[in-house]
Amino acid sequence: MNRWAAGLRELKQYPSAIGGLAIILFLIGLSLYTVVTIPYSEALDKWRGGEQWRMHPVNAGPVWADRLAGGDKPRTQVVRSTETEIREVPFEGGRQVRIPLEFDYHNGEFPSEINLFLRTLDSSRQAFVRLNWKTPSGETIALGGQRVARDDRISISQNPSLEGRLGMVPHIGLFAGDSPPDAPEVEKGRYRLVLDAILFDEDARLEADLAVYGRVHGVAGTDYQRRNLMVALMWGTPVALAFGLLAAVGTTITTLIIAATGVWFRGIVDATIQRLTEVNIILPLLPILVMVGTLYSTSIWLMLGVVIVLGIFSAGIKTYRAMLLPIREAPYIEAARAYGASNARIIMRYMIPRILPVLIPTFVTLIPTFVFLEASLAVLGLGDPVLPTWGKVLNDAQEQSALYNGFYYWVISPAVLLMLTGLGFAMFGFALDRVFNPRLRTQ
């Protein structure tokens, strides 16, 4: 349609339109990328947390933030026995196996944790392992020995006797070399964890994965459950956009139809709609959502439904009514009646399209308000139970006192994304307003 084309051409003159559109397109692009690369079920599964994240550090910041600040925090290193050479010596009734897990450590800061994951395969009896830690300077620290269950984890960082002997938490003490306990310094070089295992079966095998957890991880960092925040930040985008868009479309369209219906039929229909609106306007949305969330369910779809239902008789009806009243008397509507247009057709095809262009800017700026609403609910602990969203990240951050503990990234990244969404839609909406509402243009 010509009017739209002209409007779009005019939009180009507004830098805020270009900027806003760029942000919106970026968010849409990110959403599409996310949905394609991390399918929905996979995202839900990942966000559920658990063992799949065991190789990730706890509360690690983003790499780029550390490097920008000139830091040298370590990334996580995983050394697997399947990638090393294993020496085996058989004996009567079993085998002796030596697994040397080697890695280089050159960072200025200590790792955050050390775990050893062990698996015995095809074994009927428990294996026995003894661990020795070899530092670059050739020193050997005995980490003790123990029986190994089928799927076992040895938390080297949480070995109290070792901590006693080192005088420091193990993941610092094991890397500190000769430096004093009150000012430990990293001894750089090649480290080795040697596993000496005794397997009591002919064809039993032992696999070991050593995780030396870093203090930074990826673009977004990790949370207290070792989950990569990227999952939530990325998946939060389509969820936020979809929620905002659906809520905005749902409330705008229903409100518009109801307002037009009232204006068209007048009389009792209009009066009823007006009274319902007046009652609905004084109903507080957030407390009702909190109530529904607390008493019933916090599913995002339910919340969306409640938002739309409560939005039907929103204050917008009054505005739309004022805009539609003069249109009701327009000769073209009388003409339409004279050639037999039905009431529904007049409302949908003759009244609503007339004010639609004026509503588009309002509609665009309405989207982020619903995005914020969804985030607010999540921050209040009423986020969707399974979906990863920005609000959920903020909620976790708040519950884990992220700011107090100095995990700024945990709060900042979702907040920036939320603000970016608000900014993008607001900038674009205001530019649209100037184009489609010529009254503002003269100012």
Partner: protein
Amino acid sequence: MTAGSPLLQASNLHTWFELRQWGFLRVGSVRAVDGVNFALARGESVAFVGESGCGKSSLARTLLGLHRPTRGEVTFDGEELSTLKGKARQRYLARVGYVQQDPFGALPPFMDVRRLLNEPLIIHGVRDPAAREERIRRVLEEVRLTRVDEILSKFPHMLSGGQQQRIVIARALLLEPAMIIADEPVSMLDASVRVEILNLLRNIQRERELTLAFITHDLSTVRHFADRIFVMYAGRIVEQAPVDELLDHPQHPYTQSLLAAIADVDADNALEERDVPGGEPPSLLNPPPGCRFHPRCPKAIAGTCDVREPPRFAPREGHYSDCWLHDERHGS
């Protein structure tokens, strides 16, 4: 009048608008149409003439079924309008075309011409887009629009007033009506295109043998475009006669003063301001007793005109006038 039954007949037709205070208190009625009787024959062109506010548009809307008559009835082709429901009513609406005063306002501003001309056809169940397009092109040719392709994709505001009114006429013709009601079709157009549009309407009316009810407040244009004239005053028809008869021998004092007002003025653009005789137009809320014109009538007979409503007289052959002056007892 031609032979056969009339196409449209209004009998004792009243359209009153209730005036309410605070939305519910009845404070009175605007008697926009107040007891109108006439019959229109097939293929006849008639003009309803009267000053602004005398109820012409209300009468047109009542005939179109847009207002429900307060009393009386409209009969079209033997069927009473108020009894028509559903399909039958749609059929009636298709058979009566409507041309409004303000051509720009009469076209939905957000639809292009193709779209807005498709609307009536879609509503009346013409499913095939190619068939619709064909019918649209045919009527656009009939209303003498050139460069049809270009016009079809334009929006109303991109067209001139004359083109807009041609589109409105085309839309009224799309559904093959038997009758067209044109409510002051040229009063909002440039003087230069008025005659063209009136000629167009007249030609289409003759070619299609339509009944044309042509509403105007301007007596100076009716002679060439109507066969019969109804003069309206304060919601009533006060005089009716074939066009030449009425213009050459006006009987009712109101018609006489209307004609005198035209004769007074030569300049074209002054016509609109001076087409009304002096004095206040009557209140439709509280119409004057007796003859409604008596407060402004130079020949009013005290004791009669201000007391009793005049009946219909036929002072000349085929010429009717509601005025006590025609009563034998008063002479004239």
